[in-house]
Amino acid sequence: MSDELLKIDNLVKSFDGNTILDGVSLSVKKSEVVVIIGPSGCGKSTLLRCINALEPIQSGSITLDGEVIERNSKTLPALRQRIGMVFQSYDLFPHLSVLDNIVLAPCKVQKRNRDEAKQEAMALLERVGLSEKAKSYPRELSGGQKQRVAIVRALCMHPEILLFDEVTAALDPEMVREVLDVMLDLAKQGRTMLIVTHEMQFARAIADRIIFLDNGKIVEEAKPDEFFDNPKTERAKQFLNMFEFDSVKARDGLDK
């Protein structure tokens, strides 16, 4: 067996006849951090959702360590336990405390001992700086805190790969950093991650590989420095230009 943990082969996904993902092939190795970027609506979220079988696919295959991920299959819940996912919207369970949000699936799905799960949850919360929030409810947390809890909730299942879908997109700017730092820390620990983000600096810092997705196709795939400094395709250049601002300082001169 190769060290390819996640393998997507020629994935085609459409919504009511509109092809959203058009033959995407991609693999992620163990301990690799792959960042997907691309314009809004190009299918990044859809791709992550397909990996977790939250969307039916039209053709192609997705495998985790050789096991096929398929909707409505008996093995799906077991496979999903091995994939951690954090969404853009705050998706904590509002009726459960932070600690119960985290230990619910370990206890009910993996049948782990509750005290042991709680201990692990507390250790993880400590690591993201939220141990004193264990008893709080999601509504009492800031957006950044909620996302850190959502990450801990995913981690507590001991997933082999983590999927992040623009986890900072809905956050106020001052809270983005605290969440990105947690993800950088995970990368340092050697976690396997597939990340969708609009934070270009962050993508450059964390990625082993950048995937540029446009119109449902992988247009470019490169090491981060290569991609950001010398994008090969015109589409990638245009996309990256949107994040640059031409100086307008010359205007100051006119006033004087």
């Binding site: 904590l92 699936a105 993996q110």
Partner: protein, 228 residues
């Protein structure tokens, strides 16, 4: 002071078993609504779940049922059930039975709509993030969806219950001896000796209804705050 009590006709309450009779009337109103509530809750839950089902036909039928029950004044439903069925089918049902049936039909419809509303108010990402954690769909319902639905539902259904209790005062129109009926009988009997009896007795009825519904309302407010 005693003069005021006499003046307002409240003294009539303490004559004979008048007060006990009023309480008895309140109890028959309450028991009709409680039995109807006990029937409405399980049926309403089933109806609410069916209203969110994929079948358009089932949805349409239940929608029509709900609208008919809502449009019809409860009094008309009571008359239909009590007098209408005797005429049409020759059924001879008691006023109590007719009342329970009408209130259960009404309660089921309203409860069904509340359940439907609570179910559709749970955002899709709650299902998804639960499934993404490896929970089966049974576990998702058990630990995530049902607890949230119930929390939304309880304050609303308590309000429905108080509405049902209050509306039982209509059943006197089909001859059920409930609290208003008893009140009328007492007033009738004491009109000559105590001219203001109507005021005192209706005031008592007001207080009785208030005491029956207020704690329930308070509970609803408390739960609403706690779970919001």
């Amino acid at each position: 002071m005693p003069d005021l009590v006499t003046e307002l006709g409240i003294d009539v309450l303490f004559k004979g078993t008048n007060f006990l009779r009023l309480l008895g009337g309140l109890w028959s109103a309450l028991s009709i609504s409680l039995i109807a509530v006990a029937i409405s809750i399980p049926l309403g839950i089933i109806m609410g779940v069916l209203m969110t089902s994929k079948s358009r036909i089932i949805k349409a039928i239940l929608r029509v049922y709900l609208e008919i029950i809502r449009i019809m004044p409860q009094l008309v439903l009571l008359f239909l059930m009590f007098f209408g069925t005797t005429r049409a089918f020759g059924w001879d049902i008691s006023g109590e039975t007719a009342s329970i049936i009408v209130f259960a039909l009404w309660g089921t419809a309203e409860m069904g709509d509340l359940v439907r509303g609570a179910l559709i108010s749970i955002p899709k990402h709650q299902y998804e993030s639960s499934e993404a954690l490896g929970m089966t769909s049974a576990q998702t319902y058990l630990y995530i969806i049902i607890p949230q639905t119930v929390r939304r539902l309880i304050p609303l259904s308590i309000n429905l219950i108080t509405r049902m209790i209050k509306t039982t005062s209509l059943v006197l129109m089909i001859g059920v001896v409930e609290v208003l009926k008893v009140a009328q009988q007492i007033i009738e009997a004491n009109r000559m000796t105590s001219p203001n009896v109507a005021f005192g007795i209706y005031l008592t009825v007001f207080v009785l209804y208030f005491l029956a519904c207020w704690p329930i309302s308070l509970l609803a407010k408390y739960l609403e705050k706690k779970w919001s």
